[in-house]
């Protein structure tokens, strides 16, 4: 005989304001098998949990139903509470009467009625719950970090520091990411390269860290603690192990007119190239789209000059397979393309640049050796206009709906650096709002205004028109003085919105993690679990989760590392016991379930059975590997005989819920 306890939570007034909790407890008390039904103000609090625990002990309960918030919130809390007093944690069911009842309904009468029905469904289900014991599966003591920007680097270093092997997969020929392209960092104005490159070198020298540069993740299988990842090492036509990075080949390569991605296409590189002097690994890469040898079979200069024979024109893409316990996603961001914003004349005028291009223009290793010159005629600009929020905070049809977060600060930084270095330059910043939350951030912005006399104008630029004399007419409104301005600028800098890297979406599909509509990875909980994805064993680091500046990215990178280390420290993890299982007596051995299983958790065995007529027969039956099964239930529906069922969500349990709701 079942002895079921029902516990109705008020959640302060969150539930109690719209649901008559006493009535719910009263009504559920009359359900078959229910021996105690109580309400309490905060069931998840310690005293609330104690109430549940005491009831379990006192009434020797065989199952409990908590009518409270979403099971996604506190299911684990109550399972742990039950387990602590000896009740199997899987004999706990949650009726969600907050998110799915009190918060969405206004009338007490109907909301209470619904809460009672939800409670009844949970009682009906808990009647059929079976105690489940979680199995264990081993954890592979190795982590994968996808993306080698500052986020990935920080995560990898921290994980390696804790003594675990880490692989970094970076799609570009070098790690470093966007930060490597940046000149100075706010709010301290220290040189980005000076703080980043030592970390890059540390990565290459740490024996626990293995960098797969110029590589991509092509397949992910498995589950937390036991992922099998296929990494595609793209052919770079240079043997990484032999190349010393001397750079002779890049000097001699006759193909010198390839737009240099690292400098945002503001100058050229050769077909065989090393992205920048501090690249890690410092290994040359041949760009097959421009290499004459690879395109026409004629040239071979690099091969001739290479003293170590590292050039290999026959190199093929290579696929390697590796096992990992944890995966950290650090795929980062890119500035958006500005093609559709005709009004800013980005495509028409070389002197309208993005902020990232300005970084390169001002960088000592950039195309002008650190002297700020206009890209068009290499003259000093004397009037510079910055435009904020280009493509950020837009309606979906016009751009990105979110604030890109970093633009206010880097624009202040640019304005300040320019005024510092070229005091004869006038700098205008058109802003909608200046957003500077962050340590020393507003002080920094104020310095730009007060100390460096940067002209901040509240208003948006409406139109940018290149003129025949090389000047650029910037038409904008000044909302505070209520006038329309025209500025004859020499250089216009657009603070382009940032968006997640394009590789993130297919990666999310491979990892079975979720993304929001903007293609940022969704964290498991917006406040309490900001660096974990909802998929166990997958962690998020840096701008792939949302716009972030460098200090935040590094903080999140370390946080993701801490979470990954926490996982890798365990020798085994508890498996989800809500897995499929096959009733061998009913199994037909038809292979339907095997075909729909995404994890390959089902295999077939020939097994001897005693038949009802006392003969023995050998039958082919399905067998589920509970460590591999993730409990989706696809097999249960594919199985025509109903031999396949799912623990925790069995056919009879779900039907009992259906019955309770429909009654």
């Amino acid at each position: 005989m079942q002895r079921i306890g029902v516990f109705v939570c008020h959640c302060g007034t969150n539930i109690a304001a719209t649901v008559d909790v006493k009535a719910v407890a009263e009504a559920l008390g009359h359900e078959p098998g229910v021996v105690i039904s109580q309400d309490y103000q905060y069931m998840c609090s310690e005293s609330g949990q104690n109430l549940v625990k005491d009831a379990i002990k006192e009434h020797n309960l065989t199952g409990i139903v908590i009518c409270s918030c979403s099971p996604r919130m506190h299911e684990n809390t109550f399972r742990k509470a039950a387990a602590s007093v000896g009740l199997n944690p899987y004999l706990v069911e949650i009726a969600n009467i907050r998110e799915q009842c009190s918060w969405i309904h206004k009338e007490i009468a109907t909301a209470t009625e619904k809460a009672i029905i939800l409670g009844k469904a949970a009682v009906a289900k808990v009647h059929l719950n079976a105690p489940l014991t979680a199995g264990e599966s081993p954890v592979v003591k190795r982590a994968l970090v996808i993306g080698g920007g500052i986020a990935g680097i920080q995560t990898a270093l921290d994980i390696a520091e804790a003594g675990f092997d880490v692989d970094i997969v970076e799609k570009e020929p070098t790690i470093g990411g966007k930060m490597a392209q940046i000149d100075k960092t706010f709010p301290t104005l220290d040189c980005a390269a000076c703080i980043l490159t030592p970390k890059m070198v540390e990565c290459s020298q740490n024996e626990k860290i293995h960098i797969h540069s110029f590589s991509e993740v092509s397949d992910v299988k498995g589950f937390v603690g036991n992922f099998t990842v296929t990494i595609k090492k793209k052919a770079r036509f240079v043997d990484e192990t032999k190349c010393t990075g001397c750079g002779l080949c890049t000097e001699k390569c006759p193909m010198k007119k390839v737009p240099n991605e690292f400098n945002m296409g503001l100058d050229n590189r050769t077909a065989i190239y090393i992205p920048f002097a501090q690249a890690v690994p410092k290994v040359a890469t041949i760009d097959p789209n421009h290499c004459m040898m690879l395109k026409t079979g004629k040239c071979g200069v690099c091969s001739k000059v290479c003293s170590v024979g590292a050039i290999d024109y026959k190199q093929q893409d290579q696929f390697i397979e590796e096992k990992y316990g944890a995966i950290v996603v650090a795929t980062g961001f890119n500035p958006i393309k500005l093609d559709k914003y005709d009004e800013f004349a980005y495509n028409q005028c070389a002197d309208v640049v993005t902020s990232l291009e300005l970084e390169r223009l001002m960088n000592a290793a950039g195309p002008n050796g650190g002297t700020l010159l206009r890209p068009s005629d290499k003259t000093h600009p004397h009037k510079i206009v910055f435009v904020q929020c280009v493509g950020s905070r837009c309606d979906d049809s016009k751009g990105k709906p979110y604030c890109s977060k970093i633009c206010c600060m880097y624009t202040a930084k640019h304005a300040m650096l320019i005024r510092e270095k070229y005091p004869d330059t006038e700098v205008y910043v058109f802003y909608i709002d200046v957003r500077t939350p962050g340590k020393n951030f507003d002080e920094f912005y104020r310095r730009a205004v007060e100390q460096y006399n940067v002209h901040y104008i509240k208003g948006m630029v409406g139109k940018v028109t290149p003129k025949s004399d090389g000047k650029i007419d910037v038409q904008a409104s000044d909302l505070l003085s209520n006038e329309q301005l025209h500025i004859d600028a020499d250089l216009v800098v657009l603070a382009a919105a940032i968006e997640p890297d394009k590789t993130a979406r297919p990666l999310a599909t491979m990892l079975t993690t979720q993304m929001d509509t903007n293609d940022f990875f969704t964290e498991a909980h917006p406040k309490l679990r900001p660096v974990e994805s909802a998929t166990a064993g997958i962690f998020l680091s840096g701008a792939c989760q949302g716009p972030k500046d460098i200090p935040e990215t590094v903080a999140q990178g370390s946080a993701a590392a801490a979470k990954a280390i926490g996982l890798l420290c365990k020798n085994s993890i508890t498996c989800n016991p809500c897995v499929a299982h096959s009733d061998e007596l009913m199994c037909n051995g038809c292979s339907s379930c095997e075909k729909v299983c995404p994890y390959g958790a089902i295999t077939y065995i020939d097994k001897e059975f005693r038949m009802p007529d006392r003969t023995t027969a050998i039958r082919r039956v399905a067998s589920v590997n509970p460590a591999v099964c993730q409990g989706c239930g696809a097999c249960t529906v594919a199985c025509p005989s109903g031999a396949m069922d799912l623990n925790g969500f069995s056919n009879s349990q779900i039907m009992a819920e259906v019955d309770a709701i429909c009654k």
Binding site: L585, M586, C587, N588, G589, C590, S641, N651, M655
Partner: protein
Amino acid sequence: MQEAMIKRAKELLADGTVNRVIGWKKGEFFYDITPAVFETAEEIDADFVFDDFTSANVSKYLVKESKKEGKILAFLKPCDTYSFNQLIKEHRVVRENVYIIGVPGGPKLDIEKIKAKGITGVLGVKNENFTLKIDTLYGEETMPFYEAICGKCADCKSKKHVIYDELIGEDGDVLDSNRFDMVEKLENMTAQERFEFWREQLSKCIRCNACRNVCPACTCEKCVFDNPNSGVENKAASDSFEENMFHIIRAFHVAGRCTDCGECSRVCPQNIPLHLLNRKFIKDINALYGEYQAGADTTSRAPLNTYDTEDCEPSIVHERGVE
């Protein structure tokens, strides 16, 4: 044909290739013919029959028979070979234990259709130039041959044997049949008309389970409707809903696996056109996921066990046909 089959069966028994033969034998009347297993030449001589009434599909019997000791000879008509292939795909039969001789298919006759003409006391039939000469206790009667054939043969989809070890007689081709005409006609009715049509048909169901028991796709060790733990167990139709449930679920369970052999409708004592449910699924699968004939081969994936990322959404149901 019958002689050739008997001769070959006796040869294979004699040389030890097989130790049993599955075919058909006469019942009380010459037209109530049932599948039967023969172990000796004498039994074959006495009872083996292959004529206009041997319409039963013997493939399903091989689920059990092929797991016994020794090899069994099976005479399979074209439609039976599709069922057999499908059973191989689902690992339900042991191919090595069956020696298959392909024999020509129908059209087979349906005694109910003859009786429906008011002809009783039937003793024998003969097809002469597509006129059926019927010998009865009360003298000879005639009717057009095609009016007496089985429903499933009227919509024959294929005369081709998709699997065999040897053939007696000619192999045929896959035919262009009009088998989806009736499904289409129903689709073009209004929802109310369709509901009334099926209400009338399914209300006749007496839950004898003949459709399930004869179906070569329904070979479950234990049917969900017989399993007290499945939550849907019911042995008899106790009200209007249960036959809906039974027939929809049964059709769904064989969707993508049903070879359209037509046995369900043939054996239904209440003459419910059950094959239309299966054909509806087959028609939808063909239209939405590409042409698929269950049993045509033993390796392709069943349409419900695979998917395409570009599959249509269920809202397509709203966009097609009549509401």
